[in-house]
Assembly symmetry: C2
Homo-oligomer: 238 residues x 2
């Protein structure tokens, strides 16, 4: 069944007040008729079964299935890569169940992206949420300096900074041996060229553990997908 994303404020008296774009999409693009049913998610975990009515939509059923969502938040801090690769990264990480993505301006980040980019990433996250039938859309934060992001992560006790150089324990080993298996997880992935020494020192100050993703050299676009695959497998595969 077709699924769209709405905001909680669009709901009043068991009616969904569709935007012009949503109404156009449902009735013109996918050609639903009056009386046809569709699903709507509000990004907070609610799933609505609704029916097209004249100009609007009537809610038939509300459920809050969270089958595809993990109980613990998974946060990805990712140094902004060159080019448009962040689009693919947002899409794949949304599929994999990430809760929030913090694009980081690091010492080796070349460009500070435009506000249009942020809007684009949020749109991609929303699309990927719908396509992968998740009901919680990940938060894509504004790009911020690494230190600002680290200072917001003080509540999390399982924080890992992926760092390819040196002899670090593998992320899988660390995750499988941690004490609180259900607590939030934060993963930080560096830019092309890796983290600078100053960034690594700062991460250690903020109680990040340095980990490896294995012996291979991964692109900045591949590494977050690999890290999240390991995180989700650890949560589900035990």
């Amino acid at each position: 069944m077709q699924r769209i994303t709405i905001t909680p404020s669009q709901i009043q008296d068991r009616q969904i007040s569709l935007t012009v774009e949503q109404h156009h999409y449902l009735t013109r693009v996918i050609r639903l008729h009056s009386g046809s049913q569709f699903q709507a998610i509000d990004g907070t975990g609610q799933l609505y079964l609704a029916e097209i009515t004249a100009g609007n939509a009537q809610i038939l059923q509300i459920s809050s299935t969270i089958d595809r969502e993990f109980s613990q938040p998974i946060t990805l801090i990712c140094a902004l890569p060159k080019g448009n690769n962040f689009d693919d990264l947002v899409r794949a990480c949304t599929e994999l169940g990430v809760t929030s993505i913090f694009p980081a301006i690091s010492d080796r980040t070349l460009l500070n992206p435009s506000p249009q980019k942020l809007l684009r990433w949020r749109k991609i996250a929303q699309e990927a949420t719908e396509q992968s039938e998740r009901i919680v859309c990940p938060i894509i934060a504004e790009p911020q300096p690494l230190k600002t992001i680290f200072s917001q992560m003080t509540d999390c006790n399982s924080k890992y900074l992926c760092h390819s150089r040196g002899d670090r324990p593998h992320l899988l080993t660390c995750l499988q041996s941690r004490q609180l298996a259900n607590s939030p997880i934060t993963i930080a992935i560096g830019p092309e060229g890796g983290w600078t020494d100053a960034e690594i020192e700062m991460a250690i100050e903020y109680k990040f553990q340095l980990v490896s993703l294995g012996r291979h050299i991964l692109r900045t676009i591949t590494a977050p997908i690999v890290a999240l695959s390991i995180v989700t497998a650890t949560i589900e595969g035990v």
Copy 2:
């Protein structure tokens, strides 16, 4: 240091007989002068340190470091996705250390790709081998029907067919509990829409174990990266 891929037949008497394209690339594109050094890999595990000479290249040192390669072969069988996504998949899986990729024509595969596509995938695998500093270039087989591919996998004892429907054990669980931790691993990933019942029955006949990659709905392009991330983490992270 710059690294190029050569064929073993280009080597004679400690000289590398560069092709016109390679010579152009080294001397014109990246502007190495006579006497400059570069690395060459021959796709079989040999790494050559060489020096540009007039019109050719002199081998200075031969090593066979296999640091980035796993001791056991990792085979990916992947139903061909729609569009050009197979390019990205070949690139990411090469980075992750795959040994061979078998593009499969499955019941739900729409197109049989042209021979040009195969050449393109092999070129991408070669580029990704160089960029990720691997020394063994993965084999990209010709697209073949699934049954033909399965019949070539009888030597492998750890074969997993990823299948999102039903209550299957997680790939991570199966890999971590298998008896022969150093034996070859084969992973099969289905097309958009999943495997047909007939394909699943055939996989079971060929002794594939049905496994899950978790509760999320992954695109055909994301699933192989997730599966290989779990495979490589299991090999390295224990």
